[in-house]
Symmetry: C2
């Protein structure tokens, strides 16, 4: 009954999502406090107070038919303008509402831009480890995901291999910084070199290559590290942003695309992307949440980054102490830890016996590692440490 | 730069949406009160008070990380169970949460089920006049929309032609009752015959044909007319529902799919549809609005149907008085009026000179007619009557 394209998806249902369901099942058996679910990027830090404040203000001050009604498919003009100005203030860009397209989260933003530009057999490059859904999104439009192998020294992208893998069929490149699952932030030097390579290859092949910057973790950076704004490095950049993490609203599905004026065929791409937003069935980003975003920007609302930072330090320092090997993440809320054995899936199974739910790196095209999402309560991390310690002992790390 | 598939979409950007933008432009010039925009199904009746009440209760009573967080891709279990029970009470069905998949509106629901079942070249039948986006949704998955020509006598579906057009390639049929743009409700007799034909053809070709019932207007029916529940007529039925009209929440993008147990390969279809919801980029239906729906069902919230009915009667009676030809709609909030000349696009242009924005029937594959959306204020209808009258005189109708 189901389509040929869906069959492999049903067979390989997302490991992360299966773990989410597994976590709920274990919690029902052992009690939530005795299950250490580090599998999903579901923020534990609540939305900042300004979200609730804004909702209350909107219900009081704005018309119901306006707040819950249709607007232009690209989103409310005032919301888009507020976002553009906020980007301009922070990054020295020159966006206006014309450059902003409100989307049903970053996942939808990625689908919109891929639908807009991909023809069948077009190639989309990305860097391992990468978010597993990229492959599904690219296949939605009959494109082909080409993966650059991981640089496990520091998890900055492997740019030599990247340059080699660009062909005349390369239509887009997806980067994700701060990165899921490594927590790495692409440096200014990395982005400069990446942009240079793209420009050279565009010239070599006479093609346009779109750099898609997937940035749901932009606001989650620690120790004052700068997260460079990618449109400043390369003209044909499209940014996919989400408020899922920066305002802890993952279930609300609210984000935006930035398509800069400098982008090749800007007007046509913006029109096509707006239509794509409509025909893939989203129609528009959820209206009340759009209005909330405007007020949250005006109120300078920020999620409690210190809470994640505290989690990061406790978990990173503890795992290092127990003998695990891991680079210290500069952003996002993940640790990407080297498994003490080659088969990291077996390591995950072993961890699960201690009620520790971790995601195998092969889900990110980087076997031998596991992802630990530390967007959980500090107490969960504290309670889980004996389990990590026991695991380290089992593998002779301490 | 944009894909081959997107090019015709950019060239033929939705007439309805262009009119929406045009309406805003004219309103800026002449003042909103002097532009009679009947082009878009954007409800003028505000959401019932229970929506705001529910939001306030949720913010007070439920945890922020729960309300705005990820849940299972299919939606919150308690919300789905509440919807299932409500359907069971009203229609004598036997659904449970297992049959309900929360979606980003009905448009997304349609995309999800089409992605779930369509292989390239599969045929999807629908009845003219039909919502123009069906063609785009089917083409998203490389299917082919096959259109049964309109029965302009009473706008019930043309079932003889329907039976002839079913082939071994027919994978699905989309119906929409109460209908956009005609306002017609499919009768018990119509659905019985339609189901019979489908069962015969399934047997003849040894295939499974899915009946997709697009039902955003289910709750908008007048004069006590019954809108039969389609799953009771045919096992392989999937219902696409939306709260856009029934709770006046079109911008919020909240709806659901019903996939009944009786549906062929139920478990596989439900799993695949849940995955499709994820990979097309929606991930899940907006979380706060899911929670609002639960409470609104419990509070028995209903949109002010009497307001639409009053609009319907004023506009229908006036247009008939002016000499226009039109069937009286039993549901939805549209009049489908015969243009006094064969070229209804020219008629629409003429109407626009009176600041009347109407949608040509050719946008619904039914030229010679125009759609008038009466989900506007009663006052707009009153103010617009002289313009309709002047138009009728120009065409010698009165």
């Amino acid at each position: 009954m189901i389509s040929e394209k869906m069959k492999p998806l049903v067979q390989n249902n997302s490991v992360i999502r299966i773990m989410f369901e597994e976590g709920k099942r274990l919690a029902a058996i052992y009690g939530a406090e005795n299950v250490y679910d580090f599998s999903l990027g579901n923020p534990n830090v609540p939305a900042p107070d300004e979200v609730e404040e804004s909702i209350l203000e909107i219900l009081k001050e704005e018309e119901s038919t306006f707040v819950h009604g249709y607007m232009s498919n690209a989103g409310y003009e005032d919301v888009r303008e507020t976002i553009a100005q906020s980007l301009n203030e922070r990054f020295g860009t020159r966006f206006g509402q014309r450059n902003i397209l409100m989307t049903v989260g970053a996942a939808s933003g990625l689908n919109i831009i891929l639908k807009t530009i991909l023809d069948p057999e077009d190639e989309v490059l990305t860097f391992a480890p990468y978010f597993v859904e990229y492959g599904n999104y690219v296949r939605n439009y009959d494109g082909k995901l080409v993966v650059v192998s991981p640089n496990t020294v520091d998890f900055q992208p492997n740019l030599d291999e990247f340059a080699q893998k660009i062909t005349a069929k390369t239509k887009a490149v997806i980067i994700n910084t701060p990165n899921n699952p490594t927590g790495v932030v692409y440096s200014d030097a990395t982005l400069k070199r990446l942009a240079e390579i793209l420009r050279e290859k565009e010239k070599e092949f006479g093609t346009v290559i779109v750099l898609i910057s997937d940035e749901p973790y932009r606001e989650l950076a620690y120790d004052g590290v700068e997260v460079p704004y990618v449109t400043k490095y390369y003209a044909d950049t499209v940014v996919c942003y989400s408020y899922s993490k920066s305002l802890s609203l993952p279930g609300e599905r609210i984000g935006y695309l930035v398509i800069p004026d400098e982008c090749n065929s800007f007007a046509e791409v913006m029109t096509a992307a707006t239509i794509a937003n409509r025909v893939i069935g989203c129609v528009n980003a959820p209206s009340l949440m759009q209005r909330v975003i405007k007020r949250c920007i005006e109120k300078n609302a920020k999620v409690n980054l210190a809470a994640y930072d505290r989690n990061r330090n406790l978990l990173y320092n503890s795992l290092k102490e127990y003998g695990f090997s891991c680079i210290k993440p500069e952003g996002a809320f993940y640790l990407f830890v080297k498994a003490p054995i080659a088969d990291e899936k077996e390591f995950c199974s072993q961890a699960q016996k201690h009620n520790l739910l971790l995601v195998p790196g092969s889900s990110f095209a980087c076997p031998g590692y596991v992802r630990i999402a530390y967007c959980v309560s500090y107490e969960q991390i504290e309670r889980s440490l004996p389990a990590f310690q026991a695991l380290a002992k089992e593998y002779g790390l301490m």
